[in-house]
Amino acid sequence: MRYVDEYRDPELAHGLTAEIRSLVAPGETVRVMEVCGGHTHAIYRHGLEELLPPEVELVHGPGCPVCVIPMGRVDDAIALAETGGLTLATFGDMLRVPGGRGSLLEAKARGADVRMVYSPLDALTLAGKEPGRHVAFLAIGFETTAPATAVTLLRARAEAVPNFSVFCNHVLIEPPLRAILETPGLRVDAFIGPGHVSSVIGTDAYRFICEEYRRPVVVSAFEPVDLLQSIAMILRQRAEGRCEVENQYTRVVRQEGNERALAAIAKTMEPREDFEWRGLGALPRSGLRIRDAFAAFDAERLFALPDARIEDPKACRCGDVLTGQLRPWECGVFGTACTPERPLGTCMVSSEGACAAFFSYGRLRRPREEASVGA
């Protein structure tokens, strides 16, 4: 398949692996954080860690939008879904995220009208088809998904749809990166930048990582050859004493991003004072809310939501996993109390969550390695 096969070419992958080996000194450790959950999924799915020399350690970052949603926001969404005459529409993966009062799927089982959609535009269409009900779309996601919500809000206003609103939980990528970079004792040497978020915000958005924190960044696509090439580019920067934002995903990402998408977001949404992140706490100006001009479509203004604040379960260490301080299998409940079928933490819910990706693809390898070390 074109645009897939060439980026999975074994010869190219082996050539890049050899180059990566040549760029590290035996015994040193280079810790590279992939920010995006899609990269985490691809790394485990294609077994890329097995191709890398032991000197290169991949750290999984906070870029899975499902994984960073705090339990309180899930409870708010459940309260919204239980409003009489209201249909709550959202993406499939959000349905299973556990809050303090269970998940949206469990709320649906109790009688709430919760529906899965692929796009916020589908939720808007649903509102048109069911004029007797109010349809609220539970919006989550980084800058990649926010444009779809923005376009939906613009259309809802243009069409004066009276029975549609958005419960906005969109987040921005820069604040959690800054929070990670400010973590005392941070052990991350470089970043693989998210691919499709960058198609919206552009590569210039990461310059602060090089200029203020002296860590190289390479924005990467998602296929195995893409990721290996990005790691090689990071190591080349290191070998040559450079610290820059480089773009491996040139077939999509531009330096300045997508001006139309950014304008649509800016027209409909604005940063909140702060937003609660799972594992990272409240981060200033890290989430988006709906602007006053679109207040008629803002579920938070239309409905009295509890604004629930709930602490994560003590046994769940999603926060440490999201900040790269703990690897999935090092969490005490990984694969036992917390599995994809019955997730305790959000990292086990989405297929892009580090724990779910490792559970699906990596856990069969790990016991063998540990067994051989112990032998």
Binding site: Y3, C36, R45, C64, F91, V197, V252, S350, E352
Partner: protein, 67 residues
């Protein structure tokens, strides 16, 4: 771009889609062999035959075709 059933909320679920026909701010595109309708508000000058990066029902960007 990707062919697995990933998470719709995640950026990696963005798919390469070939434009079949344009109808105002909507376009019929082929994704993984299926025809889907996407909004092209952000790429309003999209033309049949072009490859678009689509996510959550909208086209985000053109995909540059290079050999």
């Amino acid at each position: 771009m990707t062919t697995w059933a990933g998470c719709a909320t995640c950026a990696d679920e963005a798919m390469a889609a070939r434009v079949l026909a344009v109808d105002g701010l909507e376009a019929d595109v082929v994704v993984d062999g299926r025809v889907e309708r996407v909004a092209i508000d952000l790429v309003p000058d999209a033309r049949p035959g072009e490859l678009l990066l689509c996510h959550a029902g909208i086209a985000l960007e053109r995909l540059e075709e290079t050999e």
